[in-house]
């Protein structure tokens, strides 16, 4: 489990960086540049995803309303000013796909993962820098293909981000299932290739280039979370690759992997025989469930490392938290069927999945309470990163509790495919991972760019994000209990849903507030890049290794390879620099407390 740290490479004098502009910033193999490339790409994709969300909420808040301006901007999606149902479904599908894979995964997992892991393990770069560069450019291509799919005949994929066949397999079933769905599948294949390269890199780096003395149990929780999330991704993505290949074959080459006999679409009997739509669901969710843990584990790890900088004491229960990360990772691979309780799979299998799903609550609760308990006895400084982390803790608990309903197969019968699920996963992905992403940006911006973000704008951004966010997704849980199904273009066709009109209006208005508030962040981000106050090496007085090098770090990171003799949470001690000791401080200078 803990291989001995490799022998120290020779000391290197700080070398001159002779690379030209293209090698330095475009086709760079430096993990820091690649990390920033991922982050910028992800933030741009977030703008697209947020725009799509705005369109959704416009439609749900004011169904049947005419929007002449939108028709001018998006002529394919509107008729008579009213949004077309086929466009709505494409918007919903692409919103989900972009936010999950191209925003959170790019910014939080690949972006910050690439940036932080080599620095925090005391390395000069990733284990495979060229592979790293390749992974980014394939990721870029994947995003480009997906955006391109908006502009093909039939429009973007419209079968949901889950792409269940036969809807996603038969071109006549919904317009997005023409070329749009094929491009979606191609984009996913590229994404998976890119992610695999990235994941390999992170695992290899953590195992082979840690600084001398940096044993596994001295690693910050951030590194642990990226390590485990990467292993999870490596093992979980291939079934989706397999499924995507089979779906492409069903769509274009006449096979029947997922298409059963006797299908009649547009009054024509299809020639497929014997395939199983459920097979897609099993393969998709085999990835789909671990995927959300791939997103959330780094969020939780990062939160655990930001907390101590603002409580000035060690994170609570470090060892236990590491074990919990492992437990969650392992368990997440065997619970995928809880997405399929009413799918027609065997009820006995449903019982198994229900029982195992609820065991995940154990390590997650322990981990969550460890985060909460880290605030106990703290000397709290509520700066922007810390505010966002408090938001992470709050939404982790709130959203996570919804999981108790959904994991319970019997309760799920009422709640499956309703807004309860939408509320739950937005709280977890939108809430926990999004707020953690913001926390990470505010926290590491000074290190990445050598400048400081504006604190007042940061605080305003937090409150104007947290309040509407909580409102929207907490309310959606109740919409689900009232029986409002997902992916409905409007709720106007049902008597029992008329009473949701007011709630949808409130949710839509809150959503507009949420989206507009992000401009505060964009302004802060861009302004600070150019005119922010110059940042010192360790503005937050934090202990992990990235804070021991200049802001921004030079190419090659460390002038001399650090030697580590302590864990990552030496806060609350008497040290020459203050109340903390960075990980490279020798044991002789400041006593080691763990």
């Amino acid at each position: 489990m803990e291989p001995p740290a490799p022998p120290p490479p020779p000391e290197r004098p700080a070398h001159e960086d002779t690379r030209g502009f293209v090698r330095r910033y475009i086709f760079s193999t430096d993990h820091k540049i690649i990390g920033i490339q991922y982050i910028i790409t992800g933030l741009l994709m977030a703008l697209v995803g947020a725009t799509l969300a705005t369109l959704i909420r416009l439609q749900l808040g004011w169904p049947d309303h005419a929007w002449p301006l939108l028709e001018k901007l998006l002529p394919g999606g509107y008729q008579g000013g009213v949004m077309l149902p086929e466009f709505y479904l494409a918007v919903v599908t692409m919103h989900g796909t972009i936010m999950v894979f191209f925003f959170i995964s790019y910014v939080l997992v690949s972006g910050f993962g690439n940036y932080l892991v080599p620095l925090q393990v005391g390395a000069t770069d990733m284990a495979f820098p060229f592979l790293n560069m390749l992974s980014y450019w394939i990721a870029f291509l994947s995003a480009a293909v997906l955006i391109f799919s908006f502009f093909v005949a039939g429009g973007a994929a419209a079968a949901g981000w889950t792409a269940y066949p036969p809807l996603s397999a038969i071109a006549a079933a919904v317009p997005g299932s023409q070329m749009g769905q094929s491009l979606w599948l191609l984009s996913m294949a590229l994404f998976i290739a890119s992610f695999t390269m990235s994941g390999l890199n992170i695992v290899a780096t953590v195992l082979s280039v840690r600084a001398p003395g940096l044993s596994m149990m001295r690693l910050p929780l951030t590194v642990w979370s990226y390590f485990i999330a990467s292993i999870l991704g490596l093992l979980a993505f291939p079934p989706l690759t397999a499924a995507a290949v089979m779906l492409l074959f069903d769509r274009h080459l006449g096979t029947s992997f997922f298409l059963p006999s006797g299908l009649v679409v547009a009054n024509k009997v299809l020639t497929n025989t014997g395939g199983s739509p459920l097979l897609w669901q099993h393969l998709f969710w085999f990835l789909g469930h671990p995927e959300v843990y791939v997103l959330i584990l780094p969020a939780l790890g990062i939160a655990c490392d930001i907390i101590p900088a603002f409580t000035r004491k060690p994170v609570y229960g470090y060892r236990m938290s590491v074990y919990c990360l492992w437990a969650v990772g392992a368990l997440s691979m065997i619970v995928w069927g809880h997405h399929m309780f009413v799918s027609g799979m065997s009820p006995f299998t449903g019982e198994y999945f229900s029982l195992v799903t609820l065991t995940i609550t154990v390590p997650m609760t322990i981990f969550g309470v460890n985060m909460l308990a880290s605030l106990w006895g703290a000397k709290l400084e509520l700066r922007s990163p810390m505010l966002f982390v408090c938001g992470v803790i709050a939404l982790f608990g709130s959203g996570g509790l919804g999981g108790l309903f959904l994991g319970n197969a019997t309760a799920d019968m009422q709640l499956h495919d309703t807004y309860f699920v939408v509320g739950h996963f937005h709280m977890m992905i939108g809430g926990v991972t999004l707020l953690a992403t913001f926390a990470a940006i505010y926290f590491w911006f000074p290190k990445m760019f050598g400048r400081t973000m504006n604190e007042t704008l940061g605080k305003a951004h937090f409150w104007l994000t947290f309040a509407p966010f909580f409102t929207i997704f907490f309310m959606q849980h109740f919409l689900g209990i009232q029986g409002a199904p997902r992916r409905y273009y409007a709720f106007t066709a049902y008597d029992y849903l008329q009473k949701t009109r007011g709630q949808n209006l409130v949710i839509s208005l809150s959503a507009f507030l949420l989206v507009s508030s992000q401009f505060i962040f964009i302004v802060n981000f861009v302004w600070s890049l150019v005119r922010g106050r110059v940042a010192e090496a360790n503005p937050w007085r934090a202990t992990t290794l990235e804070w021991t090098v200049p802001s921004p770090p030079p190419h090659g990171n460390f002038e001399t390879v650090p030697t580590v003799e302590r864990w990552a949470y030496e806060y609350g001690v008497r040290a020459p620099g203050g109340d903390f000791a960075t990980q490279d401080v020798p044991a002789a200078a400041v006593p080691v407390t763990a």
């Binding site: 490799p6 022998p7 120290p8 490479p9 020779p10 284990a127 495979f128 695999t196 994941g199 390999l200 695992v203 290899a204 195992l207 082979s208 280039v209 490596l234 093992l235 979980a236 993505f237 291939p238 079934p239 690759t241 397999a242 499924a243 290949v245 089979m246 074959f249 080459l253 006449g254 096979t255 029947s256 992997f257 006999s261 025989t273 014997g274 395939g275 199983s276 097979l279 099993h282 393969l283 085999f286």
Partner: protein
């Protein structure tokens, strides 16, 4: 610690990294074929399953692939005895046999097609083409790795230690795919 031992240790770290990277990649590839296999098993239980006769050339292809694995091993043994010329010859042989294997697979596909069995003809044929296709794609990648190893051997393997590490990667990847082939062949033939 002097500069020489430091340099050697840096090489050792690099070897470990590459080996680690390869094993993790193989874990990913294993999951891919595991997913295909589980899909096969699920589909096999369908009432419309019809086993199509597979071309007998597949047996020959299997032998060719096995022979190329043997050739790689011979290359390794000869190299450890610093018999670089015969080692290089064996590597070239292994590479050539790999190409022959791929050619043989193409022949097998063409025989299927001329017998009127295409990709969508039956579930069994769908899986046959898809599984052999996926395997062939990975073989092409492995040929690149094998080529890299062959080049190192051909140049007289000036650095035996680095050569051993390179060979280890080649052997692992190549034998792995040979093993995957045997498994897939058994699956589509027998089950």
């Amino acid at each position: 610690m002097n500069a020489d031992t430091a340099a050697v240790d840096a090489v050792a770290v690099r070897e470990d990294q590459l080996k680690l990277g390869l094993w993790m990649f193989l874990a990913t590839v294993t999951m891919l074929f595991a997913a295909f296999t589980s899909a096969y098993i699920v589909r096999r239980s369908g009432s419309d399953w019809r086993h199509v006769a597979l071309p007998s050339i597949l047996w020959l292809n299997s032998l060719v692939l096995a022979a190329s694995s043997v050739a790689v091993e011979i290359a390794n043994v000869r190299g450890t005895r610093t018999a670089w010329r015969s080692s290089a010859a064996a590597m070239v042989m292994a590479f050539a046999l790999g190409i022959v294997f791929l050619a043989g697979q193409v022949v097998a596909w063409r025989q299927m097609v001329s017998a009127g069995v295409y990709l969508p003809t039956s579930p069994h044929s769908s899986f046959f083409f898809m599984l052999t296709g996926a395997h062939a794609v990975h073989v092409i990648a492995a040929l690149a790795v094998l080529g890299w190893g062959a080049v190192a051997t051909l140049s007289g393997a000036r650095d035996p230690r680095a050569w051993t590490s390179r060979m280890s990667l080649c052997r692992t990847f190549w034998h792995y795919l040979g093993g995957v082939w045997l498994f897939l062949f058994a699956l589509v033939s027998l089950y």
